[in-house]
C-alpha cells in the first residue's frame, strides 16, 4: 500500500503516527558509538545498572524512521529537539516506541510540527521521551504556496 504524503493537512494532534518493538542490541550500540565517535565502558562492558546500557541518544533517529515508515516525507527541517531520560535501556532489552503528532502551530509565517516518541520498557515503564520539532511547508489554505 502506498504511504500517504506528509503535509500540514495530515497532522492530527494526538494521532499515533506509528509504533514498534525493537530490541537494543550490542550492534546497535556499537553503530551509534561509531557514528558519534564516543566510547564508554558502561555502554560496552558493565554499568551500575547491571550489564551494559544503551547511550541516551540511541533512539534519536527512530522518530524520523517511524514517520518515514508511515508517510512520504519531503522538506521538513529539524529546528528543535527535546529529550527526557527516565532510565537507560539495557542492551538486550526489548522496548516499545510510539510516535504521535504532539502539536502544530504557525509562527513567523511558517508551519511547525512537534512529534513525540515515547519509549517504554518491557513492563511499560517509561525509558525516554523524544520531542522532534520541524518546519513544515504550509498549504495554500493556511497561507502557504502549495
Amino acid at each position: 500500500m502506498e504511504k500517504p504524503e506528509f503535509n500540514w493537512e495530515s497532522i492530527e494532534i494526538g494521532k499515533v503516527v506509528g509504533e514498534r518493538e525493537i530490541t537494543v542490541s550490542q550492534e546497535m550500540v556499537a553503530a551509534h558509538l561509531e557514528g558519534v565517535d564516543a566510547e564508554r565502558d558502561w555502554y560496552e562492558k558493565n554499568s551500575p545498572f547491571g550489564g551494559p546500557i544503551a547511550p541516551p541518544m540511541i533512539f534519536i533517529n527512530d522518530v524520523l524512521q517511524i514517520i518515514d515508515e508511515n508517510f512520504q516525507r519531503f522538506g521538513t527541517i529539524h529546528a528543535r529537539a527535546g529529550y527526557q531520560f527516565h532510565r537507560p535501556a539495557r542492551v538486550g532489552e526489548q522496548v516499545h516506541q510510539r510516535v504521535i503528532f504532539k502539536e502544530r502551530y504557525i509562527k513567523r509565517g511558517k508551519g511547525w510540527v512537534v512529534w513525540e516518541m515515547e519509549v517504554t520498557g518491557e513492563g511499560g515503564d517509561p525509558v525516554a521521551t523524544y520531542l522532534h520539532t520541524s518546519v513544515v511547508s504550509l498549504t495554500r489554505a493556511h497561507g502557504g504556496e502549495k
Binding site: 533517529n61 527535546g82 529529550y83 531520560f85
Partner: protein, 146 residues
C-alpha cells in the same frame, strides 16, 4: 572524547564547563549517515553538496541530531546516572554546521535547585563552532547524586 570534568557536587552557579572539540569532517558526517541508514552510503543534504544546493542550502550540512550526542555524552561524563535517570535536554538548531566545522560543547551552570527528591542542576548548553558562532543552544538539567 571523555575529557576530565568537575564532579557534580563541586559545581557552582555561573560556572562554565568547556567540552572537547569535535571535528565534523565529511568522513564523520558520512559515518553518521551510515549509522542513520543502517550502513548504506546515500546522497542527501548531509552528504552531497549538489543535493543540498537543490534544497536551497549553500552546501551540505551536518544533521542537528549528530552533535546533540556530544552534549549528552558530556552530561553523562559530568553527572553519570544523575543524567541517565532524570536528565533533560532541550535545544534549538540555530545555525547550520558545515563539513569541516569543529564544534565544542559549552555548559554553564544556571542554578542548583533543591527539590523534594534531591538536588537538580539546571544548565545552559550550547555548541559553538570554530568561529565562535553558536550553532545549537538550549537548556539541560540533571540530578546530582552523591
Amino acid at each position: 572524547m571523555n575529557k576530565k570534568f568537575p564532579s557534580p557536587g563541586e559545581l557552582k552557579a555561573g560556572e562554565k564547563i568547556l567540552g572537547a572539540i569535535h571535528e565534523l569532517g565529511r568522513e564523520e558526517i558520512q559515518r553518521y549517515n551510515r549509522y542513520v541508514t543502517g550502513g548504506k552510503d546515500t546522497l542527501n543534504i548531509h552528504t552531497d553538496d549538489e543535493t543540498a544546493r537543490r534544497a536551497g542550502l549553500p552546501r551540505a550540512v551536518a544533521t542537528g541530531r549528530h552533535p546533540v550526542s556530544f552534549i549528552s555524552e558530556s552530561l553523562v561524563d559530568i553527572f553519570g546516572s544523575g543524567f541517565l535517570t532524570g536528565g533533560k535536554i532541550d535545544v534549538a538548531f540555530v545555525k547550520p554546521i558545515f563539513p569541516d566545522d569543529a564544534v565544542h560543547v559549552e555548559i554553564t551552570v544556571r542554578e542548583i535547585r533543591s527539590e523534594a527528591t534531591g538536588k537538580r542542576t539546571l544548565l545552559d548548553i550550547s555548541l559553538v563552532n570554530q568561529d565562535g558562532i553558536l550553532v545549537t543552544v538550549g537548556t539541560a538539567s540533571a540530578w546530582t547524586k552523591t
